[in-house]
Symmetry: C2
Subunit: 329 residues, 2 copies
């Protein structure tokens, strides 16, 4: 099977390394044997080598655009992990569309295209007989969309609450321990987890994007980040953040989507105090959590991913690959 | 599609009610339209009616044995929720085997057959081209086996820790609040969650059974409850239980399976102090939790099902039905 990497930053490299570590098991347990025939990045351009290449030091030819890259790499699966463009999902959205129209399975870690093009890409993929998967777009590769699809069908999910933006938790914890908001942002940037524009994380846009992805895919809604009632953590007074922690129910940036009695899905994100013994209570550092309310789970079902790293995001993409191309042996 | 209930107690009734509530959605979203053509219980015998019956007040004929019941009901899917027999899994194991040999899909909520016959039943089902599913055998219908199959393939799970027996938590909490162990057992029995022999729960046998099911299915081991290093909560001094609670890290009955460096899977169950801010820390009442350690989840992945009830167990069986027979529309 020929695969290609569209975007080759931290996640792309982690995915390449993970696939290499699992090469024998992928073949033995799922019949997946792969060769990399394309890699594209801002720095390296559209690189192809139908005979196979090492993405770390790619050989082969540089072509001009995505169409040539898809043709000459003859990739059957494209892994997309380009930088996020929150407002339009571009250019990733156009590239994914081109790949699908070319008859290629696409596996994306990017929430931009999910938010701005989920319906379009899904319908296009169905028409072309290929798959569009994006497990890693929310919760860094922990099961979200595969869980909804394979584990909780017709569970009657009423609402989903969670902590989706680890930068916000890291900043709040910095404030709790006596630092300022700006110092907390600096820390998150040094940890490599903040987006280029830290306002995107602390003002709730990142959570809003992820809520839209979950709402549109899992609850069948059709909302955009501008539809999300949104507040960030900048509005909090630092003294209040510290007092809440001392009182045992710290502020966290919580996102929630719920279906009202009228069937309409509403979404909101904002700082909330989380009791230590509640489902969102144990969240520290970069840990992410999603809590589902449904009539078949009287107290709810919670999925918590503790301290994910780029390998976790890469793993979500590998799990998508297995779901799309694997045949259990 | 013809379905039949083998065992019709609390879980069977909850399943029948849940299927009725989801009838329209099962048809519309998964193409599943069903009629009940058989129900079997100790009290009611082997009842069949090929024209359809109401399991609450079954009409039709009473036949002599499982073979006649399978033939005359012409069921395509059998839901098994018979009382557990921990030492052999019988008679459920023989009945499931008969159903599979008859070419029927079987969906079981019973951990006995998983522990004592998983390999046999799975191989037999593969040979007959039918499915054997048992999502509800562990964690009361919250995703365990579907999660392992569909969400975390090749995650490299090293160990699974969890709280699998809600009776043990309820008894420990009763002791924490000043009652005796026997009073706690009485409470669990009045809540309807304790097994007929409460020693089965408090001495760790229930957890040991569930650990074996997870070890054998998810980690590919082949162990039996007698292979599990086992301690129960009876060994604890009540004063120690109360002090641990006051110190903020109460005792819980924790089960753990792990794969050693030599590849061998070891399993143990016993009381452990659980820190409030750890992955097993928020567990109260009947809440169940499983925590997976794997290299792709640096701090682990935790699934928590808060306050499950018989509908949760029934839901796991319905999710199995959708997995086996559903075609997403």
């Amino acid at each position: 099977m020929r695969i290609a990497f569209l975007g080759y930053g931290t996640v792309g490299r982690a995915l390449y390394a993970l696939l290499a570590r699992r090469r024998a098991a992928l073949s033995r347990e799922y019949g997946i044997d792969y060769v990399v025939t394309g890699v594209a990045s801002r720095r390296g351009g559209w690189r192809v080598n139908a005979a196979g290449l090492e993405p770390e030091q790619p050989t082969g030819e540089i072509v001009d655009n995505v169409t040539q890259w898809l043709e000459r790499s003859a990739a059957e699966v494209v892994f997309e992990a380009l930088p996020l463009e929150p407002m339009s999902g571009q250019p990733a959205l156009d590239y994914l569309r081109a790949a699908i129209e070319h008859g290629v399975h696409v596996i994306s870690a990017n929430k931009g295209p999910v938010v701005h093009g989920h319906r379009l890409l899904t319908e296009l993929a169905a028409a072309r007989g290929v798959c569009y998967r994006f497990e890693s777009a929310v919760m860094d590769g922990a099961p979200v969309f595969s869980l909804a699809r394979a584990c909780i069908p017709l569970a009657g999910v009423r609402s989903v609450r969670g902590i989706f933006t680890s930068t916000a938790t890291v900043v709040l914890e910095a404030i709790e321990s006596g630092h300022t908001l700006d110092e907390g942002i600096g820390l998150a940037q040094r940890m490599g987890i903040a987006e280029a524009d830290p306002g995107y994380d602390v003002d709730g846009w990142d959570s809003a994007m992820k809520l839209c992805a979950v709402a549109n895919v899992v609850l069948g809604a059709d909302i955009r980040p501008s539809d999300v009632t949104r507040a960030g953590i900048r509005e909090l007074r630092e003294a209040d953040v510290r007092r809440a922690r001392l009182e045992g129910s710290p502020f966290r940036l919580v996102g929630e989507i719920s279906r009202g009695a009228n069937g309409v899905v509403a979404a909101r994100v904002g700082p909330e105090r989380c009791a230590a013994d509640g489902p969102l209570g144990a969240v520290r550092g970069t840990t992410l959590v999603m809590h589902y309310e449904a009539d078949v789970f009287p107290g709810g079902l919670t999925v918590t991913s503790h301290d994910p790293d780029p390998t976790t995001t890469a793993y979500g993409m590998m799990a998508d690959l297995i779901g799309v191309m694997g045949t259990p042996r």
